[in-house]
Symmetry: C2
Subunit: 445 residues, 2 copies
């Protein structure tokens, strides 16, 4: 099925690759390719060579012959020698434009760019199909952990009913450090993550949950056979998690993690949400610590299955890119390219208001007599039942003559709409010193 | 590369399958194929049909037309309609013979049979290559967890340096129950496992570690590119583990698991061993409970990576078989078959005496004054250093006028040869009421 527009013979089993972008991951790929070249030739018979690299600064040393570098993307895209282009620019533009151009020029694409797949995935996949070219993206989720390949092939006999993932190393590192040391605030843990290289100088995409949502869009598209639904994903970050919440979680038997959730419900409804979740201690994702990622999948045949590993780092990401390069190269050299039926699933994204779980709610109050009664009365009015509660004074200045405190509540399963309505009304109570904060509880896996 | 010996066209994308054997897993496969037939057709364009089934008892109802059943293997193997034969007989013979015959008859093989792969893997793989046929075996290790595919493709860019696995559900279930309830003996836990369906009526292969070793042979052959080395694997089962050991493990900060270990050492030495191991509490495998399996792999690019899921069960095993069937069918229907370079690695199997780890040793003694001194003197003579120790009286009758007791020791890293020599000498002390029992400690991952 390979195109016959070109005359080049594939028998040589030498595959040449172009790189769009050459930052940390690109550097890792060049390094790994050098290190494993003999090993790969020995196992697969394929010789891999990098033939052209798009860079911003041509003078920076990169351990490759200077003649390979160019600042003109067209020299990479229209290079007649290459079959595969690895896109490592990150972000939406010019990545999207150059990927589309490469596909139209007859190149296969390998990318680690979850953002462009999450937002422009459908356009990219359709362009690939029109041009009979492949898009591989193992490196876009959980770096070297072969999660994409496993869903695509290993679980092909399964209808996947749910995905729960810890998909971002930065936030998991921060939450682990906060859980391990009760004197560590979110700000402290973020600072530590930056110092240890587990958070970027601008960590917004990570701590606000956007990066996790990008990856959830990629995974759910693949698992449910639907176009990427990034825009429909409900997203909350971890910036409002306090030591109070971490401690309360522990007291109630939970651990707080930033979890990406994609769940199939009856009538083709799909839940898609990224937010801090309280997980019961026996939940398999609670053992995922520090910068590690994990994806827990439920398939109707395989049952519960989990993939675990480091989710970032130049060499582990390069491991995924290289596995894609080798697989694609093998297929090219043996004329094995096959187009897939991309979108076979139905989708109706459940609005977040219809989520139905248990909730932990922290109510920052002033400790005026009757405050608990006021809160519980309003919860009762909206049919929110309470299964556990706790209240404490917290350090701080008196307000209206009363000490500051917090009331913590665990609710029974409730439609989120009712929680939201109740919290909106409780927010207006004069005994509140700040707005209530809520964390969803995920008991099922 | 498909053979041109036969005239049948593959364009129809209907793939017919023969089954050798139809017990629980075969039943699961028939059921799963029925349930997912439309789903698979929708996603891959392939129609899968079972065309002939070898059974022992033709009269037993199996939810398939009676005309498909036969007691003559040749009717399955030489059926001109089928491309793929799924071997579900288990055990060594006649499985080996029928697999070889099928390959020679031009059929591809899919199998869940770890025993035959562990013992006759090299013969089977070479016969497959001679006949330009494929052998797929995703179901042979960890059932539905796509571990074979992940090593084969997802981690192809990696030199794998170690594998640590909990590969047997029965033994993990027993050890979990013993760890959860300190009144539960090995015999109690085994009985419970049988009652819950997690142990077979004759559990010997499981509790003696043989099944785990079969799977380790399959994994290590694939990961290290060497012929199966089942005969060189050092194997100990879990039958001698007592509540005393479980409690001591906990006191010293460990959990006992039956772990399969394959590790590359310098100079092409490979460690291959299956035995109860004490794992530090933070070791990722300690979170693997009950009947679940997991494989922890270290690759030079990807770092630490773990796969987790149920290791047995008819439907989860069928999930793996079906993923193999689909992949092989796709390749057949698009003429994508490619022979691999099977054995590219070097191997020198390290004798168990050269293992170098820390050890936990239980010394069953009679509580005669000076007993600890006698034991430690002999350990010292063999240069075995002690990092932790404990001693207790245990319930039982007096012997030689003294109460029975136990001495527990944790050693520093020591060559196993020295431990063995010391224990042999200590065994002869008149203060010993039984032979010493030793568990290796695995700190690294």
């Amino acid at each position: 099925m390979t195109s016959n527009r070109r005359l080049k013979s594939y028998n040589m089993k030498e595959i040449k690759i172009g790189l769009l972008g050459c930052g940390q991951v690109g550097g890792g790929l060049i390094q790994l390719l050098k290190r494993q070249a003999d090993f790969i030739r020995q196992r697969t018979g394929i010789t891999l060579t990098i033939d052209r690299i798009l860079v911003r600064d041509i003078s920076k040393p990169r351990g490759v012959p200077g003649g390979l570098l160019t600042t003109n993307p067209d020299e990479v895209i229209y290079n007649l020698e290459t079959d595969i282009i690895v896109e490592l620019l990150g972000g939406l533009e010019p990545a999207r434009r150059l990927i589309l151009k490469s596909l139209s020029a007859g190149k296969h694409i390998i990318t680690a760019n979850k953002a462009v797949l999450a937002v422009h995935g459908e356009e990219i996949m359709r362009t690939a199909q029109e041009n009979k070219r492949q898009v591989y993206y193992e490196a876009s989720v959980c770096a070297g952990v072969p999660i994409i390949r496993s869903i695509k092939e290993g679980l092909l006999a399964n209808r996947i009913s749910s995905i729960q993932g810890i998909l971002n190393g930065t936030t998991n590192y921060i939450l682990t450090k906060m859980a391990d040391d009760e004197n560590k605030s979110f700000a402290d843990a973020l600072r530590e993550a930056k110092e240890s290289g587990f958070a970027e100088p601008d960590p917004t995409l990570d701590i606000e949950g956007i990066d996790t949502a990008h990856k959830l869009a990629v995974l759910s598209s693949l698992a449910f056979g639907i176009p990427s639904v990034f825009k429909s994903i409900y997203i909350e970050g971890i910036t409002e998690i306090t030591q109070e919440d971490i401690k309360n979680a522990r007291d109630f038997g939970f651990l707080i993690k930033l979890v990406a959730i994609a769940k199939k419900l009856p009538d083709n409804w799909i839940e898609l949400r990224v937010h801090p979740s309280m997980l019961p201690e026996k939940h398999p994702l609670t053992s995922v610590r520090n910068e590690f990622n994990a994806v827990l999948i439920h398939g109707d045949a395989v049952g519960e299955i989990m993939f675990y590993g480091k989710g970032a780092g130049p060499i582990t990401t390069a491991s995924a890119l290289l596995s894609d390069i080798i697989e694609l190269s093998t297929k090219i050299s043996t004329h094995q390219l096959k187009m897939e039926n991309l979108y076979w699933g139905k989708r109706r994204i459940l609005p977040i208001e219809k989520t139905n779980v248990e909730y932990y709610i922290r109510f920052p109050i002033i400790d005026k007599p009757g405050v608990i009664g006021k809160i519980t009365t309003i919860l009762g009015k909206y049919n929110v039942s309470i299964s556990g509660a706790n209240a404490i004074l917290v350090p701080g200045k008196k307000s209206q003559g009363y000490l500051p405190g917090s009331v913590y509540v665990i609710t029974e399963r409730t439609a989120e709409k009712r929680i939201r309505q109740a919290l909106a009304q409780i927010s207006k109570l004069p005994v509140m010193r700040d707005k209530p904060f809520m964390i969803r509880i995920e008991r099922e896996y």
